[in-house]
């Protein structure tokens, strides 16, 4: 009997947590999305310091590029759910114009790939150029699909 209750509790807990993962609240979905975006911008900022020789050990460059590579596949899933929260800057255009949005994501993913290819070569000038292209891809998507605010 004790064993059965234990098992049942486990099952219910599991079901609840699975449900939570499958269907986050709009608020949580937005928070998660913003966390991933912050992670991307953090690595991006670190790479920009390294390619300009301002700070950071260039030996670590590959780690940050790899982080972008690892994160890039997750982008589509971040936008499965829209929200009308005031502080969520994801614009309705994302869901109204899914093809253009998919193109913008593809641009970003291709730019990360291109950066990752030259990053292995260690040639700073090429890395700088590829990184600038990545920046343009980020900006291109934000321009159409993120609510504008003052910088």
């Amino acid at each position: 009997m004790r064993q059965t209750i234990k098992r049942l509790t486990l099952l219910i807990t599991l079901a609840i947590s699975l449900a939570a993962v499958a269907e986050p609240t709009p608020e949580d979905a937005a928070k998660y999305r913003q966390s991933i975006m912050k992670a991307l911008s953090g690595h991006n900022g670190a790479i920009s310091m390294m390619v300009r020789g301002k700070a950071g050990d260039p030996d670590n460059l590959g780690n940050h590029v790899q982080a972008l590579v690892n994160l890039k596949g997750e982008i589509e899933s971040l936008f499965e759910q829209s929200s009308d929260l005031e502080d969520d800057r994801a614009l309705p255009a994302i869901w109204e114009n899914p093809e253009a949005f998919a193109d913008a994501i593809e641009n970003f993913q291709a730019a990360v790939e291109a950066l990752s290819e030259v990053a292995n070569g260690g040639e700073m000038q090429a890395i700088d150029a590829a990184h600038r292209e990545l920046g343009k891809a980020c900006k291109g998507c934000h321009e159409d699909f993120r609510l504008k605010k003052q910088d």
């Binding site: 911008s41 800057r89 920046g135 900006k139 934000h142 321009e143 605010k149 910088d151």
Partner: protein, 287 residues
């Protein structure tokens, strides 16, 4: 009989030299049109819009302005303009009929641009395909709906004059000052305006919270907390090239279009010059 061959050769050399000078002016002009930010205001929104054919609305607290067509169409564009017409428009804010422009055309900044640069810009604009497209009439508040009002405004708020480089400053600083204050007319959006809409020069680049279309612009003076004082010169260059902020985020503001159509098309040297100048102006609080 002198050799006609020599004459032909001379003429050919002359034509080639002329053509290449013309080409240089056109390509220099294209660069300057980018630096002058002309495309943003003179092109309608949307990917199909023809560049520089005008018609873009600018909603301000004085009413809605529509940018004119600046392709060389003789009736709806600037195809009949002489060099003098072109220079007077930029230097004095007057159209070929002698009427005053509204300061929605930033002649207040362009007045500092050199003759050589303006004529190169004209050469480039005249090399474009003419587009037949009439811009709508401005829809303005009654009290400024005549060009006389524009003239009165000008008397109060406009000081004509070319840019004079400062001998005490570096070449980069002077180039940056020319680009920021005049050709790039950054202050038209980034410097606050008084109740008459005149730029407050003693608050240079302190930001403007009352922009057209309900927008606002940030303080880009070197104040560490309110402005961009924490940005290094090459942070600014990076931003003007790719729109990336120093924290790795990328801009999604209206500045994004300025980066696309203007600053990203400049040489790195010019972007660094802009940054050098921006770092040198007095730090401003607020906005």
């Amino acid at each position: 009989m002198r050799s006609p061959g020599l004459l032909v050769v001379t003429a050919a050399v002359f034509v080639v030299a002329f053509a290449s000078a013309e080409e240089t002016a056109v390509s220099r002009g294209e660069y300057l049109v980018f630096a002058g930010g002309c495309i943003d205001c003179h092109t309608e929104a949307g990917k199909q819009a023809v560049q520089l054919a005008g018609g873009r609305p600018l909603e301000t607290s004085f009413g809605t302005f529509y940018s004119p067509n600046i392709t060389p169409d003789p009736t709806t564009g600037i195809g009949q303009w002489t060099d003098e017409n072109f220079l007077r428009a930029f230097w004095e804010g007057v159209n070929p009929d002698g009427d005053h422009y509204y300061p929605s055309f930033p002649y207040t900044s362009y007045t500092g641009v050199s003759r050589k640069d303006l004529l190169a810009m004209k050469a480039y604009l005249f090399s474009l395909d003419p587009v037949v497209k009439q811009a709508p009439e401005h829809e303005l508040a009654l009290f400024i709906s005549t060009r006389l009002a524009a003239g009165a405004w000008k008397l109060r708020s406009f000081e004509p004059g070319r840019f004079v480089p400062s001998e005490n400053r570096s070449t980069a600083w002077n180039r940056g000052a020319y680009l920021v204050r005049h050709l790039g007319h950054c202050g038209e959006c980034h410097t606050p305006r008084d109740s008459f809409g005149a730029i407050e020069n003693d608050r240079e680049l302190a930001g403007n919270s009352d922009m057209p279309d309900g927008d606002s612009t940030p303080n880009i003076s070197p104040h560490r907390l309110d402005g961009i004082g924490k940005w290094a010169v090459d942070d600014i260059e990076y931003f003007l090239d790719i729109g990336m902020l120093p924290d790795g985020d990328s801009t999604g503001s209206v500045m994004s279009a300025v980066v696309d159509n203007s600053t990203s098309k400049l040489t790195k040297e010019d972007r660094l010059a802009i940054a050098t100048y921006l770092k040198s102006v007095p730090a401003q609080r607020g906005e």
